[in-house]
Amino acid sequence: MLAQTGTTAETKMKPGYAYIHEFKNIEGKTVTTTIYDTFFQVDDDMEVILVTLAPAGDPLHISTEDNNEDKFTPTKSKRATIKFLSDSNTNLETFSSGPDDRFYVTIQIENQFIFYGFLMLDDQGEPFLPPTNEVTLTANDRLKALKDIDLTDDDLVTLRGKHRIADILAYCLKKTRLTLGIKVINNLRHGTGQMQYQATFDATNQTVTVSTDSGFFYEGMEIETSGTTSNNSADVVLSVADGSGTKILTLDRTITSSEAGVTTTFTDISSEKHFYDGIYLDAKTFEQEIGTCENCLQVIEKILGEDCFLTQWKGEWWVMRVDEFDGNPPYLAQFSADGVFGGFLGAADFDKEIGFNESIWLSQEQTNVVTQREHGFVKEIFRYQHAKEIPCNSDFARGVGPEPDLFQNGDLDFTPECWTLFREGDTGTNASIDSQPVSGSLGVLRKTYEIGYEREKKFIVVNAASGGRHYLKSEAIEVEKNGRLEISVDTRFDTNLSIINVFPALIRLEGNDGTLWDWEYNESDGTNEWVEVFSSTGSFLHQWQYNRANDDTREWRTISATSKSIPVSGEVFIRLVMGSAQPNQIWFNNLRVTNKAYIQGSYQEFSGQFNRVDRTDIQGSGIKSTGYLAKRENEVYLSDSPNRFFKGTMFYRSRGVILYSGSVQFAVTGFSLTGNVIAKYPSGQIIYISGTNSGYYTVVSSTFNIVGGTTAVVTSPAPPTVITETATIRRASFRRTVAFFTSHAFGQSFPPGPEYCIEYGKTQAFAVWNQYRNTNKIFQYSFQGDKTLIGFGEVPPDLLNKFFITDSSTHSNNRHFMMLTFDHDLFLCESKGTLVETYRTDIPKMYGDVFEFKYISDKT
């Protein structure tokens, strides 16, 4: 459906004109095309003026936009070609001007909508003759038009931070101006599923010993236990150690009751979620330039590439994983147009038979069979790409403030984007760090202009007479355990101070395991280490420092260091600090941050990795076949990244740092906490709350109320229960994905063991491989819907159908086909296009061919 205009119910408008193009096809079905002119809007309660168009002899085709015969083409856009007979009132001129989304088109067969789109105003035509003429209009679903629209959220703000895949797809698809639900046939799921083991819960040692040596458990796993007497719970696995034929777990809760040898069902909570609901991507995966994202078409293609395709069908967007065109039925999941998960819908039946005695039969003696040769290997390459700026606004270029005039001279101050002014807090400990700044302090981006040209920019931080240290805090920098950080920054003061030691930065790591670490660096004495700190620890005990004795502090001075190995995976925040109790300015510039990945036991710079499957003549032998020269090598943009800061890293959500533990007053819209803690609850942050209202919430807003001295946090969704109770609030942590399984092979449920759960890249490589291992038969078809048996009906054959050609032949027997391209004549109910083999019942999918995973070094 068309996204409605207007912002309130009172001002809702709708198109005032609609052109109706209607005919009965040879099956006797009424096919109606309606073209709404959105240029002329009327109030929602007014009648639309209807204008009838006379259909031409070949009135309507719907076809795929391009003829790419690659099964893994990620977007399959559709086009409608509408022909009508002109008259003096309605002709080509009627549809020839206006913005690209002026003419909104719907097509339905009887009551079933089969196409939503917009007229393409640069592709219309009619003979240059007096009326009556045949006017040709074309409409498309605007998928291809997404190449001109950058990824933003619904408020047109460039995305930042972590987002569910479903949210990102929805942001993109809504840019088509079509508000359509999204159905997904992709049953890859993260995690290790569900298993039942004997477990001993030890309250003394705070461990759980599980009688398995399998790979079911992993660090960071959010797990639900059931079947016990007093240890049924949902916890995070903090560590997994090997015992003697057992796994020994530590959890993020206190075990209060010991139980021995109890049969326990362990469920990986991430495995219960749909791939697009449970997996998150960092917006930087789609970074185009600093501060902008790639266009929405690129974004969709990066998400779906070498895996799925997207198309519009039956009035909705559909995503289909090619590997699921197999012997299992398609299992559906539903998302709203906004990306909200609507549930698993179970199995569907999209089978279509084509054959001499079927309702669709090959016609005109125009169907040809061609072959696609067997491949020697497929190779999926994932390149390591860093974000262009680490952290956000690292070059101090962007801020919100006055608009400089054409001949601006002098300084202008801006509120820096992605950096927030805070102060150390009254307790001087980490419990009150990131307090609100006091009046008289300053933390700005200052730009200096000459005749309208920006000549200089810098951050300036000034302390107030009270309130302690003030600082500008960065957004998070993703880091990985054992990696290293290289940071350098230039500092100076506005005056020459008699100062010896300068403490310009506090660099803190917030680990995914809830620990806090400060990077202590002293340029003078060589101290360089990560120091674990706690809530009760003084907040500025372990900073960066350097010596400026006998130095003019008005000179820029660079301080730079490379960290020791990072102790835990998590997020680093840089606080650029005015560390001196003086009414002077400290200036910052030229910040550089480099993340050094620790891969394969070294800091060698790898440029990427690949997953490759080679043909073997004997499954499981490890010996590659020779003589098969066809290959498929493609780049993929999502994979099992070895480091969380690479673009394309996939994350699952878990529980992280404790933000608060104590009394929480839950309300209808959110909750309230004592004190001004809005810094801990920025808009968009995902939090986990324990207790009666346990679950994940997204912070919508947080406001400090002076009266009462409380912070009110509005959440989405709202807490289900209004109650005041003791609860723990944690920041959600995002951890790199571990393993995936194909749940469609298990009836959209869990696999029988963790051995079915493997890396995403390997799963993907074999899914692609199984499409190219066999000789593919490609039918360049011409088929006819039988008018008596109603071959097209209200839902003509489409890309989501699984086709069987029942005319017996070596080319067609035991084979399933998918439709790659089509051109449907919706009047004659005939079609031309391409079907390609996707599965053979007599040669099942192969997983014993030679698999190889390798890091790519630029030196090799």
């Binding site: 040879i26 039969w361 016609s363 005109q364 003696e365 169907t367 006819q784």
Partner: protein
Amino acid sequence: MTPIFGYDAVVSLIVDAVAYPIFCATDMALRVKQDVVLATTASSGIARHKRLRGLYEWSVTTSGLTKINNSDGQISFFYLLQESVRGVQQTIQIDFSDAEGNDHSISGTVIIPELGINGPATDWSTADITFEGTGEFSMAAVDPPEPAACEQEDTLYIDAVAGQTSVHHDLLEQDGVVILSVARTGDTLYATNGTPGSLQFLADLPNGDIHIDPTVPFNSGEWVAVEYKIES
């Protein structure tokens, strides 16, 4: 029924709901052409398979002598030649009748893509016109033919047994047997529903028996001829 003679097939133009014959036509032809789709496939054998798609088109051509105007109730060529007539859709009707008073009518909306007139020096001026149907034509339904009565006639020669007063044949047990005639050793017998008397017979169907006068049993060497038919 008698065949339709040519002058009993009349093409008329409907003007204000009245049918006017189109000039003094000497010939007419109605053509209906259906869309045929080839349906042969790899496993359907070596003979071509064809199917009807469901679309058809139809046209009517007529030619004949014409006059200057429509004054005698026939449509003149020159009337049709006018842009206001040939430039818009028209409705025509074709009436067929036979000498027995049976009739049939076909009508539909047409456009006139082509019309012409010629004037040979030594003959009448003749005109011709083509009407192409747009949309379906309409006509009254024609009943399908009733199946003809399936009659089988045959004659059985049954040897009689001396002393008996009846003969039997299995074929006379069939459903629908109607006895047409019976002869006893050459003498034709009359049918009766009662006890047969002299020169009479009683057919006992469906038992397949023919009874004769019980007072005059068969002699040695006699035979009975039974002519019968089976009605379906």
